[in-house]
Symmetry: C2
Subunit: 104 residues, 2 copies
Amino acid sequence: MSNYQNNKALAEMFKALSNPHRLVLFHRLMTCCAPGTKCNADVAIKFCVSELGEGLNIAASTLSHHLKALHQARLIHMERNGKNVECWVEPDVLKELSTFFNQS
Amino acid sequence: MSNYQNNKALAEMFKALSNPHRLVLFHRLMTCCAPGTKCNADVAIKFCVSELGEGLNIAASTLSHHLKALHQARLIHMERNGKNVECWVEPDVLKELSTFFNQS
DNA sequence: ACTACACTTCGAAACATGTCGAATTATCAA
DNA sequence: TTGATAATTCGACATGTTTCGAAGTGTAGT
């Protein structure tokens, strides 16, 4: 985290994860593999926006706003597929964040 | 991150790290060992409040406010020692955060 | 007791965030 | 082309954050 840009980018990731609703959304995308197995699949499981929001009891506009925030922080990817927009997490970002807290 | 309390506590940690100034402060405390060596010392290096704020160009009251936020999020420890207040990071919290992003 | 130093609390100002409903855009199917 | 479904943008409001200087608290030395 030596340079300023990196610090700013990291702070923006943490800001995106600082809201309980967004943290749930990210966690749903993050735990892409079967429980107990190591996540090393090349193809991440994708969720569409409305699927992700299930059980959260927030308006669709709020959900969209939160996912945009996660996307702008470069934590998740989003891609339109027909009527839906699919969201997923690339393993790279998990590795980056994991090693940040694990560094010497 | 299955239960609600854990989610809330994690979100509060990320909120504390979401401010660039606080992230710098935390990082200074976190990188307690010599560069390139694994941090496995039992005794964390401690900094007093004013030392931590060096070069950040923020008012003492702002610095105090930020450290309080890190402390309330359970990211850092604080203890008065004479005129100074010493701050440090316990390795446990780094491990917790590292494994969160590394989980299956 | 007085002073100096380190830090915290308070009050205020500017700014950012979370949330909603309504309106808008995008896509597909009939 | 019309309608249905999925998602986003907009405007508004309440609430929270960042920051400062001023004032207050705690500790050590004179």
